[in-house]
Symmetry: C2
Subunit: 378 residues, 2 copies
C-alpha cells in the first residue's frame, strides 16, 4: 500500500484525531495543512523554504499541469518530485474541480466531460481513465479520483445523479490506476448538504476500499455552519484506519473546526493568494500590511510569530515592498501565512495530545477575532 494512516490518539474532549500519514516520500503528522503548488510551484516559494516552514505534503493541480507544461513533459522529467525539486510528499487533485470551475461549455456525459481549455479555448475531454493516466504520469504520492464537483446549491435530484455517476467513475479510476504500489488513490465523497446522499456516496466509495477518502463539494460558497454540519455526519461514515482529507479548506477557523470533526488533511490557496495582496494572518487576526498605518511600524507582522519573516523584517519594510510591487515582499508575506497555518496545525495537534482541542478552539477564536460580530471570513 503506497499510503498508510497511523492513528496515534483521539482527543477525549472533541474526538479529533492525531496521526501520521506515511507516503513513499516521507511521513507527516496529522491534522495537516498542505500548501498548494498549482503549476508545480507554491507561488513565490522555493522547496527549501517549504521544507524549512515544516510542510510535509504539498498539492499540485492535474488540470493545470496537463495544460502547462503538459503531463508528458513532467513524466519525461522523471515525475513531479524531480521536475520541481521537491522531495517531500505530493498530492495531485483529479482535475475535476477545475473542469467545473474554470472551463466553458462543459458537457458532462457518462464517459467523461467535454469542455474548453480555459487559456486557449481548445476543445478537451477528461474522463476517469484520462485523469488516472495524467496523474500516473505526474507520479504524486496521493492521487484523487475523478469526480464531479457539483455547484452549490444543487437540487436533490441533480445531486443524486451526480453522486451516483461519481461512484461509477471512482470504480473506473481504480481500474485505470496503473501505479497503486507507489501512488495512493483517494476516493471523494460528494453529496452536497444532503445527508442521505453523503451516506450513499460514502457507502459506495468505502466498499471500493481506497487507501484514503476526501470530502469534496464543501467550501464552495455554503455557510460555515452548513460545512460543519456536513462534516459532523460525514466523517463518522469513513473508516478510522484511513486518512480523511477535506478539500479546498484553509481559513484558520475552518481548519480548527475541521480537525475537531475528525479531518486529517486540508489544502487551500487562501494563505498564498491573500499574501500576494499583502494580507496576512496573525495571532491577533487579519493584518493588511499595505495599510498606511504601518508605514513607520517597525514591529514584525505578528509579534507572537517566530517565522523567518517575523524574525527579520518589519511591517514598514514589507509594506514598502508590497506597495512598490517588489516580489520579495510577497515572498515574505507568503512565507509568513503558510508558516502561520502550518504552525496552527502544530498547535491543533498539541491540543489533541492534551485532550483540549475544544478549549484551544475557544482561545484561538477569541484571540484571532472570529467571535467578533464583524469578523472577516478568514
Amino acid at each position: 500500500m503506497a499510503i498508510t494512516y497511523e492513528h496515534i490518539k483521539t482527543c477525549r474532549q472533541t474526538g479529533a484525531r492525531l496521526g501520521k500519514v506515511h507516503t513513499p516520500h516521507g511521513t507527516f503528522d496529522t491534522p495537516a495543512f498542505m500548501p498548494v503548488g498549482t503549476l508545480a510551484t507554491v507561488k513565490t516559494m522555493s522547496p527549501e523554504e517549504l521544507e524549512s516552514m515544516g510542510a510535509g505534503m504539498i498539492l499540485s493541480n492535474t488540470y493545470h499541469l496537463w495544460l502547462r507544461p503538459g503531463s508528458d513533459i513532467v513524466e519525461e522529467a522523471g515525475g513531479l518530485h524531480k521536475f520541481m525539486n521537491w522531495n517531500g510528499s505530493i498530492l495531485t487533485d483529479s482535475g475535476g474541480f477545475q473542469v467545473f470551475s474554470l472551463s466553458d461549455l462543459r458537457k458532462i456525459k457518462e464517459e467523461g466531460v467535454h469542455f474548453r481549455n480555459h487559456i486557449s479555448g481548445e476543445k478537451l475531454f477528461l474522463s476517469p481513465e484520462k485523469a488516472m493516466h495524467i496523474q500516473n504520469q505526474l507520479g504524486a504520492d496521493i492521487m484523487m479520483a475523478f469526480d464531479e464537483c457539483p455547484p452549490y446549491p444543487a437540487e436533490h435530484k441533480y445531486m443524486k445523479d451526480s453522486v451516483e455517476r461519481t461512484s461509477r467513475w471512482a470504480e473506473r479510476c481504480l481500474t485505470a490506476h496503473k501505479r497503486p504500489h507507489d501512488q495512493g488513490l483517494f476516493g471523494i465523497v460528494q453529496g452536497g448538504e444532503y445527508e442521505d446522499l453523503r451516506k450513499q456516496s460514502a457507502r459506495d466509495l468505502t466498499s471500493l476500499d481506497f487507501p484514503g477518502y476526501a470530502i469534496g463539494g464543501l467550501s464552495v460558497g455554503e455557510p460555515k455552519d452548513v460545512m460543519n454540519r456536513v462534516l459532523e455526519y460525514t466523517t463518522p461514515l469513513l473508516p478510522t484506519d484511513k486518512p480523511r482529507y477535506l478539500m479546498g479548506v484553509g481559513s484558520p477557523d475552518s481548519l480548527v473546526d475541521g480537525a475537531l470533526r475528525g479531518v486529517d488533511m486540508f489544502d487551500c490557496v487562501l494563505p498564498t493568494r491573500i499574501a500576494r495582496n499583502g494580507t496576512c494572518m496573525t495571532s491577533n487576526g487579519r493584518l493588511v500590511v499595505r495599510n498606511a498605518k504601518f508605514a513607520r511600524d517597525f514591529r514584525p507582522l505578528d509579534e507572537n510569530c517566530d517565522c523567518h519573516t517575523c524574525r527579520n523584517y518589519s511591517r514598514a519594510y514589507i509594506r514598502h515592498l508590497v506597495k512598490a510591487n517588489e516580489t520579495f515582499g510577497i515572498r515574505l508575506t507568503t512565507y509568513h501565512n503558510l508558516y502561520f497555518l502550518l504552525n496552527l496545525m502544530g498547535q491543533v495537534r498539541e491540543a489533541i495530545k492534551e485532550d483540549r482541542l475544544g478549549d484551544f478552539r475557544e482561545e484561538f477564536f477569541e484571540q484571532y477575532g472570529f467571535n467578533k460580530p464583524d469578523a472577516k471570513n478568514f
Copy 2:
C-alpha cells in the same frame, strides 16, 4: 577612514588590479560586481541568497528610496542595512543619474536641480547638500557625490561646464557629508569622451582626497571601444591606493574589459533585468529559456555552472515557470545570472593572480561568443 583599499597585486600581463575593499560592514575582494537593489531589495532575491552566491556589496538607489518609502523612514528603521536585513556592505548612488534619466522638466542650476517626481509628477529639488543628507539618512557604507550625468553625445562646451559644476558640487558634498567616520564618500569623474575633460575632472576630484573614485558617464549609449578608450586614459589619472568604480556596467565582456583597465568595482541592473524575461548568461553565451526548444531540455541552464539553480533545476522546468509567469522561475534565473557574474569576477581575480587576465579574456570571449560577428550586446 570608513573605506580603505588594500592592493594585493597587479597582473603583469594587463595591469589589472587584485585587491580588497574594507568597509564598516565587511571586506570584499576586487575586482567585484555589485548586484543592484534599487528599492532596498535586489529584485526577487533574499539577503541569504545574495550572501550564498558570494555578493559582498550591493547597490541601492538614493533617488528611488527618497521617494519610496522615504529616506526618513529608512533612517527611523535604523538605516538601510537594518531596514532590508542585509549585513553586508551597501553603496548608494547620489540620485543624480535618475534625476537625469527618469525625471521630466528638469532645470539644472548652480544650487542644484529642479525636476518632477517620475511617479507622482510632484515638483522636487535635489542638490549636493540634499543628496548628502538623504544618503546620511540611508547610512550606506559608500555614498556617491551628487554629479551631473551628461547625455551622450554632448558638445565639448556643454561637457566642460558640466564637469566644472560637478567639481564644485563635489566640494559641497564633502562639506555637507555628516558621517565620514562610517560612510565613505566617492567622487565621480565625468568628462564624456573628451580626454582633456576627464583629466580636468580627475585633477579636480583627486585634489579633494575622496576615499574612492567612480568613473561616471559611461555605458550611456556609447560604443564599447569608446568606453574602453576612455577607461584607458582615465584609470591612470586616479590614485592607486583608492578603489575605482565604473558605474552602470555589467555586461560580461565589459566587466572583463574594465577590470583589465584597472577598474575595481562595477554595478548594473542587466543580470537581474534580463533574468525577469527569462534571458540567462551562460558560459556558452546567451540563453533565452522561454524558447520552445527548451520545453523538453532537462539539462541545467549552464552545464558548466555549479550555482543552486543549475544544481537543482532544468531548463524545461524554468521555461515552464517563466512562461506561466511564476515568480519562482525568475527567482531561479535571477539567482543564476547574478551568480554567473559574481563567479566571472572570481575567475577574473584568479587570472590576475596568475598574471594571465589577457589570456583569460581571449578564452572567455571565444567561449561566450563575443568574437562572433553577430554577437549580442551581452
